[in-house]
């Protein structure tokens, strides 16, 4: 295998982990990125902070963007992700980490239930989580 358990968990584990429990791995990156036009200034950075280890997420994200070049623009990705996790309220209050993460979990689980998935490097991911990786790439 060309990966390790730690890599996998870091790659796919959001801050807060796959389960509803706490964050057992990785450190949070708080690097600020340019705001995406057409969406709230803070949205992109808020979304990126959902992933602990962006280094490995970038690998998946790069592959996603290569497959879907129309979504390479961070503004487009941010909008698409927000459409899934915060469709109605995109105020700074709603995009706080403690609200955004459970919204992401709900959205991801619903997408799996609906079959709204994409295959990246063999991994079958919910569309929104794949886009989140792409946002970090």
């Amino acid at each position: 295998m060309n990966h390790t358990r730690r890599y996998l968990l870091a790659c796919l584990g959001y801050a807060g982990g796959l389960s509803a429990g706490g964050s057992p791995w990785g450190r949070r990156l708080s690097e600020a990125l340019p705001a995406a036009a057409g969406v709230p200034d803070h949205a992109a950075s808020s979304l990126r902070r959902l992933l602990d280890d962006r280094t490995h997420a970038r690998q998946l994200g790069a592959d996603y963007r290569a497959r879907f070049p129309a979504e390479s623009d961070p503004e487009v990705l941010t909008r698409l992700i927000l459409d899934a996790v915060a469709p109605f309220d995109r105020s700074p209050r709603q995009l706080r980490h403690e609200l955004l993460l459970p919204a992401l979990h709900r959205s991801v689980r619903a997408e799996f239930g609906a079959g709204t998935t994409v295959q990246v490097r063999g991994w079958i991911l919910a569309l929104t989580e794949a886009r989140l990786c792409a946002l970090c790439a």
Binding site: M1, N2, R5, L8, L9, L12, G17, L18, S19, A20, H105, V108, R109, E111, F112, G113, G115, T117, Q119, R121, G122, W123, I124, L125, A126
Partner: protein, 514 residues
Amino acid sequence: MFVDARQLPQDTEVEADICIFGAGAAGITLARALGGGNRSIAVFESGGYDFEIDTQNLYAGDVIGFSYTPIDRDRLRYLGGSTNHWQGSCRPFEAFDLDDWPFGLDVLEPYYRQAQQICQLGPYNYDPQDWIDAEARPIAGSSGDSLKSGLFQYSPPTRFGTVYRDDLAAAGNLTVYLHANLVGIDTNQAASSVTGVEIACLTGKRFRARARHYVLATGGIENVRLLLNCTRVQKSGLGNGNDLVGRYFMDHVYVPRAATVLADVSSPEVRFYDHHVVRGQPIEGILTASDEMRRAKQMPPFYIGFRVPVPAISELGMDRLPAPVRKLLGEGVASSIEYYYSRTASGMQLPAKWLYEKLWRTPPGTFVTCYCSGPYPDPDSRVTLSDTVDALGLRQARLDWRVPADFVQDMHRAHEQLAQLLGRTGIGRVRIESSETGYDPMQDVVNAHHHMGTTRMHDDPRQGVVDRDCRIHGIGNLFVAGSSVFPSYACDNPTMTIVALALRLSDHLKSLTS
């Protein structure tokens, strides 16, 4: 009682009400069920009590078509047959699995309950909800899921030749002839009735047997070889007037590492789909196609299980001995070593898991899936005869196993369903392995060593070799027992169904000889 046929006087004539050829799971079950009554039963077993290389070599044959384990390694030719090396996994067929059979689960279920005891299993209960414990439980499904949970129960495994030897010895109306090989079946001119059989020992001794009824219980390949070798009256082989004997050979296609699963290490759901023990009974949960998928025939039967990721043999580069070693040992010995090494390595799951947990003090969070499929029967997947003859003068078997072209596609679809299920329930993520991910699972595809379908059951002689009572069409007193009569199969291992069918046949033979 047991008799060494090599000690019989030359040209002995054995007479019995029923002759059974083969003492594996089917033959021994039949013999025990018929024993103790007022019918005389003669069982003829090619081997002795233990493995003998000269007898085993009678199983030699060719493999063409898709890669398959050597057919003289897959089976064992002594008392107990292949139960001397089976792994013990048992599960009865479901109702859907019998759609192509001439009878349904209601007919077979009473025999499954008896088979449950014969295979030394726990209670006859295969509902995953009844096997929940503190450490493992099945995934909570919901309506519309494409997958559902099932489970195997594991026999100790029951070595039929050892466990039931005393029963066979004690039955007053039963004689088991060891080292006795069926080499010829005589019929009347119309080939409508068997008039006698010829038995041979490797020492050269030959004798004959006559009975009212005869049962071939020598396995899915050997049953065919014996019938096709009988060409004195029917030139194409006995019972082969419609060119069906040997066709529809079926075996499960098994992929030991189809996908990688990343899961929460504390998840009891993942534990359920690996080998574990509940209330003293070893079981293994599996994920299979839902009833809706089966009803719609969207995919062939399959199951998915989870395993600790022991490296594949091919990844270690240890699936083949170095060329100089192979040359030194000779092809036969070298291939035997490779075969048994791969089987040993594939059984490393439990110690690997134990070691991981002891070293890291936590269950592994990464698993692989094993995928087992029962593709739809293919008439071109078949057993025929080669021109090579064995030590007794019979032509050897030639196996041409076919795997459908859409097998990989079906496997990926099944894993896409798995990914949806695990993602929806928040349990984990699935990576489908392929050359894109650096590991092509098809390089490690193996057969499951289940030889089925070659004398398939159907009431129409143009579609089957035997009828619903396992009697060969057109021959009034010749029957077949074992997995060669399966007209179709599920993803379940065949032993429990073999035993159930043998019990059913014994009831039928009792009615004929009462």
